[in-house]
């Protein structure tokens, strides 16, 4: 919000069309339907058509898949941070667990990708939830610090014990039949899961989640076990991350220590802040912006992490609401200066 200049203040009014179209019954014309549907359709069609449009550039087609993997993670982060109140700085842990789970299922048991991916998602999410169980009573800074440790700890332990292929990782994982399969698998997962999550947080259970975030003592006093809900939240978020990790492993036909890397922890956070936290769609948009930037900067090595850190800091300081919330406000409301 920009500060008042002199004796003026900014007044915001909902556009008439928003007022009428907010309740579904009031939609009375194509104009209003378009107003409601256009932005949603733009995202859905945009993501669905992206692999087709980019088919001339195989490299950028791959980037679409990577965007989707990050988008899944970022959604998980946003959900966990803004609806359950647990800030998890260790997104890499979910990806890593999903990646190793699917790689081991595939190489040790010879299961095909369309079995390993759902199985690894569920199994990985369960492993993550069980491992995070002891930390669930923690709040705020403390949970953030512990979750930051998890991917580092996991990578160190694998390295030190030399299990799961040690530093080489698990090689020889089956790839997808062709590129279109992984592209559309990921694009569809992102679209479906955005929809599901946005519905979920509007349901009763979403209300409890937000209660846990805003005032866990009150939720406790209502006779609800908050740790149960926190565990459920971690399960959902880690399932998203594990799904991303599982797809990534089949895409690269390899699972290794780099899947616990910093990139998977920092980009989703940056995307959430840039896109607008608490909207669930914002993180996807954030990924659509940040991941291509990261790909362009790939030649510069670690400069890209520095670049998103700076973007991240800039957004936190100057535009902490994020793009999505800002855009929604501009789309739905008039703004004007009024004299006081």
């Amino acid at each position: 919000m920009s500060g008042p200049k002199g004796d003026r203040r900014k007044e915001r009014l909902d556009r008439g069309i928003k007022v009428r179209s907010d309740g579904v019954y009031a939609i009375s014309s194509w104009q209003e339907i378009t107003y409601l549907i256009a932005p949603r359709l733009l995202l859905i069609l945009g993501l669905a058509l992206a692999p087709l449009l980019l088919s001339a550039f195989p490299y950028w087609q791959r980037v679409v898949s990577i965007i989707c993997v990050y988008a899944l993670l970022a959604m998980g982060f946003d959900f966990l941070a803004n609806y359950v109140g647990l800030v998890s700085l260790g997104g890499g842990f979910y990806v890593g667990v999903g990646a190793y789970a699917t790689a081991l299922l595939n190489t040790k048991f010879g299961l095909p990708p369309f079995v390993t991916i759902p199985l690894a998602t569920m199994l990985g999410a369960m492993i993550c939830t069980v491992l995070f169980l002891p930390c669930l009573p923690l709040r705020g800074v403390y949970f953030a610090i512990v979750s930051l440790m998890y991917p580092l700890l996991a990578a160190r332990i694998i390295e030190a014990l030399d299990i799961f292929g040690g530093t080489d990782g698990v090689l020889g994982v089956d790839g997808f039949a062709n590129m279109w399969v992984d592209q559309y698998l990921l694009v569809l997962s992102v679209l479906v899961l955005v929809f599901v999550l946005r519905r979920l947080v509007e349901e009763d259970i979403g209300l409890v989640f937000r209660g846990v975030k805003d005032n866990d003592q009150a939720v406790k006093a209502s006779g609800i076990n908050i740790n149960h809900y926190k565990a459920l939240g971690v399960f959902i978020a880690s399932a998203l991350g594990c799904l991303g990790g599982a797809c990534l492993t089949h895409m690269y036909m390899w699972a290794g220590l780099s899947q616990f890397a910093l990139d998977f922890s920092i980009i989703p956070i940056a995307a959430t802040v840039v896109g607008g936290g608490g909207t669930l769609i914002g993180p996807v948009i954030g990924c659509l912006i940040l991941v291509p930037i990261s790909e362009i900067l790939r030649d510069f090595g670690s400069l890209r992490i520095a670049v998103y850190s700076i973007i991240l800091t800039g957004f936190i300081v100057f535009k902490s609401e994020g793009i999505m919330i800002y855009a929604a406000r501009k789309y739905e409301q008039f703004e004007r200066w009024v004299e006081i």
């Binding site: 941070a81 800030v87 930390c135 709040r139 160190r156 956070i269 090595g301 520095a306 800091t313």
Partner: protein, 288 residues
């Protein structure tokens, strides 16, 4: 004997790394996740001043420390002040600044063993049959000196007492006319300078690499959590516990597990005694 001597040295190094972090957190409730980055940055600045401008070692170390203090103050004044009181944003913003510094330095060519600070005094000495080099002895001496000096500073100077007041009760301190933001700037600057001092003393033992920035952050956080965030005695005790535990692990299990010890210490402490060994009771409520 070896275990005891190296354990003490390791513990003092850990205490040095952690003292800046615990100071900033204690005074302004701000987890400074850029701590490790500041540590490396000071080392690098000292190296630059010495090797590029050809300055004297002591002088360049002092200049680098001054610059670090300024950077810390600027970091608080320009960025962190806007996110005070929003724990999530505080963590993310300071972590992002740290990452930007560390990865920026890595991109700028800070890798490999080419960047080294010379030890203050070459040579080593035999203590109870264990050979210890002078630099390591110096770490212990300086560590003790810094702790003492800080204790005197906090208890005997006006700024120090104001910092202490802030740490105990921010609102009460404000009603007594202590400017909370100005004190937080001072605390961040001092915290960063303490990280810098640790860097200048400890870096000559190895080379300046970006990875140790992350290590230092983890160690500082580990020590502070085990000791109870914001508690000084706790931090020092925890430094000794973790320090000896690490040396024992290195001796009996292998060097790979050194970091695992710190991480496990955090997890175990948070789960069993969330307010840390010496954490104050009122913190319990905000953690669990």
């Amino acid at each position: 004997m070896e275990i005891i001597i190296y354990g003490i040295i390791n513990s003092v190094s850990l205490a040095l790394m952690a003292v800046g972090f615990t100071l900033v957190y204690g005074v302004s409730r701000l987890p400074n996740f850029a701590h490790g980055a500041i540590y490396i940055l000071t080392g690098y600045l000292t190296w630059l001043l010495m090797n590029r401008l050809g300055l004297n070692y002591l002088f360049s170390a002092i200049v680098a420390l001054g610059l670090t203090g300024l950077i810390g103050a600027a970091m608080y004044q320009l960025v962190l002040i806007r996110v005070r009181g929003m724990p999530i944003s505080e963590i993310i913003a300071s972590y992002a600044i740290g990452l930007a510094i560390l990865e920026g330095l890595r991109w700028g060519g800070l890798k490999g063993g080419t960047f080294r600070l010379p030890p203050f005094i070459e040579g080593s000495v035999n203590i109870f049959g264990v050979s210890v080099d002078f630099q390591r002895l110096f770490v212990v001496v300086l560590g003790a000196t810094i702790m003492g000096a800080l204790w005197l500073f906090v208890n005997n100077t006006k700024i120090g007492l104001a910092l202490k007041g802030m740490a105990q009760d921010e609102r009460a301190a404000m009603t007594l006319g202590i400017d909370s933001d100005r004190m937080a700037v001072v605390a961040t600057a001092i915290g960063c300078m303490l990280a810098g001092v640790a860097a200048i003393v400890l870096l000559p033992l190895g080379s300046i690499v970006v990875e140790s920035g992350y290590q230092v952050l983890i160690m500082a956080v580990a020590v502070c959590i085990v000791g109870g965030l914001g508690s000084w005695t706790g931090a020092i005790m925890a430094a000794f516990i973790i320090g000896f535990a690490q040396i024992l692990t290195v001796v009996y299990f292998g060097a790979h597990f050194q970091v695992v010890v710190a991480l496990l210490a955090i997890v175990v402490t948070l789960i069993s005694r969330p307010s840390g060994l010496f954490g104050r009771q009122k913190e319990l409520e905000e953690r669990v």
